[in-house]
Subunit: 157 residues, 2 copies
């Protein structure tokens, strides 16, 4: 059981707020919050509903949403005909990776913008060259970064 104490409620809401800032639905953050401090780690949809006092439909929808985001996964069910979910190992890394991928997308857009300024003065291009540089740097630097980070967390286990 989880979510009875005030500290747990507070934690769950902080995760929800964080998720909201990241562009995820707040309810998704709450579900995630439960699965970050639950004992045991695997919880059924009904468990989560009880804990959050939220409707089955919301929890079901958000659980599948979080699976798609790579943050949680379905756990082997102890009881037949019941879905258990748990936080997915490496979920945070995967989350960061996807975020960085979106950001790196600006790299190509900046290139297209530069071609629009073709032939014009260099001073006009510096804006987009900055974007190009920053996000190309993100793109390349992060691949190595994630590899190192992945190895590091794999080693710790």
């Amino acid at each position: 059981m989880v979510g009875k104490e005030i500290g747990e409620r507070h934690f769950i809401e902080d995760i929800a707020l964080f998720c909201e800032q990241m562009g995820l639905p707040r309810m998704a953050g709450r579900v995630l919050g439960v699965l970050l401090i639950s004992d045991p780690p695997s919880q059924s949809l009904n468990d989560i509903c009880d804990c959050l006092q939220a409707s089955k439909s919301s929890v079901s929808t958000m659980a599948r949403f979080l699976v798609g985001e790579g943050l949680i996964e379905q756990a082997p069910c102890l009881v037949p005909r019941r879905d258990y979910f748990r936080f997915r190992t490496g979920g945070w890394l995967e989350f960061m990776r996807r975020r960085m991928e979106v950001m790196a997308g600006l790299h190509d857009i900046a290139d297209r913008g530069l071609s629009l300024l073709d032939g014009k003065d260099d001073s006009l291009k510096s804006r987009l060259e900055e974007a190009h540089d920053v996000f190309e740097f993100v793109d390349t630097e992060f691949r190595g970064w994630f590899e190192r980070m992945g190895q590091r967390s794999r080693k710790q286990r």
Copy 2:
């Protein structure tokens, strides 16, 4: 003048879409898009309105919003009583920096979560230790990263 050609419109809309994915209002992205390819770099609110065919109120609001985000800045006005805006040098770096700061906020939340699991089995803590590690790593690694990146772009100028 900007935004007449199809390529420019397309670029602006791509920036708008990117901004939307980053959680900024789409119209803010459009204003930013104009200021990334405008010639000259500094444009008045009216110029931007004309280019986007958007209302003054939206453009005014979004321009001030982007100033707050550190992505654009007010330019010294060539004509009195008129606000000129331009892309802010280092804006993308600042943008990334703030994003990373939000992400690093999870570092503290994870710590608070860990204290909730105090005394419980270590296997329960690994979820939050992962969060702790990833976002502490983000927090520290990025400070150095941004410094290097800042120096690099300063050198290029």
